[in-house]
């Protein structure tokens, strides 16, 4: 049974026809090895466990249905392996993971988990941005982010039922699109409880910047930028 309602699929098809200007590649890193015992690289849990196992086929189905909405979208499904090039290049440590790349493949959008519920539009908006090769950020934000000369990381923990989560998720992903030194991962907390515990996530959205500064909640772009710059130690 389709996950997308027919009328929503048609509306998205129309939106993509209007807004996608370049090719987009979706890469799903997954594992069909459901009886697995191997740990994920961060050592927190088996790669496939009770929390993420039900989502693996769902992630694939969501992406397959989205791929059908535009001829400009390509879908690659990669089985997780430590020796896989994609896994190594994007430092993927959990499954399912979704990598969204536009023409500038060096600025991927990373979604760790399955983009459902409110996070579905995070996926859709990410595809549009990657396709157009540009963000919706203000010029002042872009200028500030381009000045960054050291690598930075943002982990945004979200859940599908959280209405404020896409705000933080989208901002983090767009920051990463502006400057390839910024690695942004949107992480669906329900699928990775050990990861959520490791970062003391009990409220979403929770952004963890440079493994250090925590920002709770969604907020306007200017405020999020302020938090990010404070974390990376650059005065605006």
């Amino acid at each position: 049974m389709a996950l997308l309602k027919a009328e929503d699929a048609q509306m998205l098809r129309d939106r993509f026809a209007e807004e996608l200007t370049g090719p987009v590649t979706l890469t799903l890193v997954t594992s069909s090895d459901t009886g697995v015992t191997s740990m994920s690289p961060d050592g927190t849990a088996p790669l496939v466990n009770d929390a993420n196992r039900p989502y693996l086929p769902v992630a694939q189905q969501v992406l397959e249905e989205v791929k059908e909405l535009s001829p400009l979208i390509t879908l690659n499904v990669v089985q997780y392996s430590v020796v896989d090039d994609t896994v190594a290049e994007f430092k993927i440590t959990h499954v399912p993971s979704v990598i969204i790349q536009g023409a500038d493949a060096k600025r991927p959008l990373l979604y760790i988990g399955t983009p459902l519920g409110y996070e579905f539009m995070t996926l859709i908006d990410g595809i549009v941005d990657a396709s157009q090769g540009k963000t919706r950020l203000a010029e002042t934000t872009i200028t500030a982010l381009e000045k960054l000369t050291q690598p930075a990381s943002i982990k945004v923990f979200v859940t599908p039922s959280c209405p404020h989560c896409p705000v933080a998720a989208r901002l983090a992903q767009q920051f990463a699109m502006v400057n390839p030194l910024i690695r942004a991962e949107v992480i669906e907390a329900n699928e990775f409880p050990e990861l959520s515990d490791q970062y003391f996530v009990s409220s979403v959205p929770k952004s963890v910047i440079n493994e250090d500064r925590e920002v709770i909640g969604g907020m306007p772009e200017a405020n999020y930028l302020e938090e990010f710059l404070a974390a990376v130690g650059t005065a605006n």
């Binding site: 929503d8 579905f120 599908p160 039922s161 209405p163 404020h164 009990s202 409220s203």
Partner: protein
């Protein structure tokens, strides 16, 4: 929401770019039920309208698990679906809600100027629908543990407390709703209230009393949160005897009221002592042409249904005001 629901917030309405070169008939600040109803009425009145929302369309109701008292839904409706329906209907009339924050408002030569993160916009009238945000728990460790066990949204965060013990602080409808919702996830819920009696609707009180997973701590006020890197316990104090009790909890949900988001206009209009915007029966503030609706106002009842009514009244009043400008 079911685990595999992909349809929340699928938004394909016509995009509204904030126009800094035009003068709108009305700028609606905040896309909760009040603002979205105002949008419907503005669109149908053929007013040029821009609706600005800085965080999440639908407002506070979207994080309500279930709404049983909004007319038109005999079996009740999820807060998320209700917010979604408001959004779709509003966008039919005014196009997509602009996801921009308003940082300041002033009045200049009969026009309102709103500073936004997309530039300045001008409007002849403004409808403020900025709602409120949760009052923070009055404990010294609130900021330390916010997001590390302290939360203000049960529907958002309940899943993190499956089979754990939590406390809900508060005594109104919202607090009891939160306790009931959390009891589906947590192994135990302490419901902490500083009085002997709840303010909540009788039906809710009955449900709480009948729920074996909820333990009441009445006449109790939160005084301290203990823990190393996350919440481990809540110390409550009896308001009469001052005896303290330590509740072993993994999470604490605050539901002790809402603080109105009226900072944008605090120097422009009359407010009550608690920061609510004073409005008359026409939803007009003390500044002509500036209207306010919903939870940010001194309404006698903060509910979705009253916010919606406010939105309709405000636009009708704004229309009448516009006629005086032309006349």
């Amino acid at each position: 929401m079911s685990d595999f629901d992909v349809t929340a917030g699928v938004d394909t309405a016509e995009v509204q770019t904030v126009r800094t070169d035009a003068v709108y008939d009305v700028a609606i600040v905040g896309a909760g039920p009040g603002g979205l109803t105002a949008a419907i009425y503005a669109g149908r009145a053929r007013m040029s309208a821009i609706v600005l929302e800085k965080l999440s369309i639908g407002g506070l109701i979207t994080v309500s698990d279930w709404v049983d008292n909004f007319p038109g839904f005999p079996e009740g409706v999820s807060g998320e679906e209700l917010g979604e329906r408001f959004r779709k209907q509003a966008e039919r009339f005014v196009g997509q809600i602009a996801l921009n924050a308003v940082t300041a408002i002033r009045k200049e030569n009969e026009l309102f100027v709103l500073n936004t993160d997309a530039g300045d916009i001008k409007a002849k009238t403004v409808v403020l629908s900025t709602g409120s945000e949760p009052v923070k728990l009055p404990v010294p460790q609130e900021e330390k543990f916010r997001g590390r066990g302290i939360s203000y949204c049960a529907t958002c965060d309940a899943a993190f407390f499956k089979n754990k013990v939590v406390a809900v602080v508060g005594g109104g409808d919202a607090a009891l709703h939160e306790a009931l919702y959390l009891s589906k996830f947590a192994s135990k819920v302490f419901l902490v209230h500083r009085r002997r009696e709840f303010r909540a609707a009788r039906m809710l009180q009955e449900e709480v009393l009948a729920n074996p997973g909820i333990e009441l701590k009445l006449n109790a006020a939160p005084v301290e949160v203990l823990g190393d890197r996350k919440v481990e316990a809540l110390v409550v104090e009896d308001v009469e005897t001052h005896q303290q009790e330590r509740l072993q909890v993994d999470g604490i949900f605050g539901s002790i009221g809402e603080k109105p988001n009226s900072e944008l206009v605090k120097d422009l209009v009359d407010l009550t002592d608690t920061g609510l915007i004073k409005v008359d029966a026409n939803k007009e503030t003390s500044l002509k042409g500036l209207f306010a609706v919903g939870d940010v106002t001194n309404t006698p009842l903060k509910q979705v249904v009253t916010a919606c009514a406010d939105g309709a009244i405000a636009i009708t009043s704004a229309e009448a005001y516009l006629r005086t400008l032309k006349g």
